[in-house]
């Protein structure tokens, strides 16, 4: 029985490995796209606040930023695309901040 399960497990591994890295499901923002402010503006704002932004992308309708926060932590942070409110900051999977 278990021997018959092995190919299934292998096929499953391949399916998961091949699926595109879409929304991570960690967080969601549901603002209408028309109201979004630009990602470049968020990056500029953050830089002014002492962040070093390496990369920014969209995840679950929120702006996701990779970089160094003003305290010097290498983090991954989520911001609301309209209000630019900081929603979630995590360092290597460890949550440092979560908006109430």
């Amino acid at each position: 029985m278990i021997i018959r399960l092995l190919p299934i497990a292998a096929a499953l591994s391949l399916a998961v490995a091949a699926s595109p890295a879409a929304a991570t499901g960690k967080i969601r923002c549901d603002a209408p796209q028309k109201q979004w402010k630009s990602m470049a503006r968020l990056q500029a704002d953050l830089t002014k606040q002492g962040w070093q932004v390496r990369k920014a992308k969209l995840d679950g309708g929120c702006y996701e930023v990779y970089g160094t926060d003003p305290q010097g932590n290498r983090v991954e942070a989520y911001f609301h695309p309209v209000s630019f409110k900081k929603l979630l900051v995590s360092r290597r999977g460890e949550v440092l901040f979560r908006a109430k």
Partner: protein, 198 residues
């Protein structure tokens, strides 16, 4: 100089392909960050550790399979390659973090220290993966090589903690967990029947 058997050289070449692809990507893709290559190198290291550890239970299940026996004879290549990918993973991490201070600052994060410990477990394994060490250590060699198990567990923890969602990690480890469970079940069964017959 004695030449390596062809099958061994082909295996090494195959195992080096993902590394070549990764380094090529790093050298040629514009705007790529070292951090972008953490995932593929870490995944290959984990896959190879898993694969190397699957060989013993596979051998018990299929003792007459030529393919399995060939793989078991070449297990060292998989283990050493796993270490190689772990080192590549570390190199991209160091390049990404840029400073020792930055690395020390986050060493307490569970997703990070589990990775460091997994790598530390692999160092003695890699250092003793040669015939001379096997001869020198005799019975102790096997004990050193058993570090592969804590290395695998720490790798799983590191992956689950540092990555978004644990699905990929668990799916990768599922075949190994299944085989080890089967191995334990058979061991338990054998002991049980032995006790009954005595």
């Amino acid at each position: 100089m004695n030449s390596l058997p062809t099958s061994k050289m082909i295996l090494w070449a195959v195992l080096a392909v993902p590394a070549a692809v990764t380094v090529h990507r790093y050298a040629t893709v514009p705007d790529i960050w070292p951090g972008d290559l953490l995932l593929p190198t870490g995944e290959w290291s984990a896959r190879l550790i898993i694969f190397a550890l699957m060989l013993t239970p596979l051998g018990q299940l299929f003792p007459t399979s030529r393919a399995v026996n060939w793989l078991i004879r070449h297990r060292r290549a998989f283990g050493v390659a796993a270490f190689g990918y772990a080192v590549l993973h570390l190199i991209f991490y160091v390049l990404d973090m840029e400073s020792v201070a930055a690395m020390l600052a986050e060493i307490g994060a569970p997703g990070i220290w589990t990775g460091w410990l997994a790598l530390l477990c692999l160092v003695p394994l890699a250092l003793t993966s040669n015939d001379a060490a096997m001869r020198r250590l005799r019975g102790g060699w096997k004990r050193v090589q058993r570090l592969a198990y804590p290395a695998a567990i720490l790798t799983l923890l590191h992956w689950v903690l540092v990555h978004d969602g644990m699905a990929t990690a668990l799916v990768h480890f599922a075949p190994l967990l299944l085989l080890q469970a089967l191995r334990l079940a058979r061991l338990f069964n054998r002991n049980f029947t032995q006790r009954k017959t005595i």
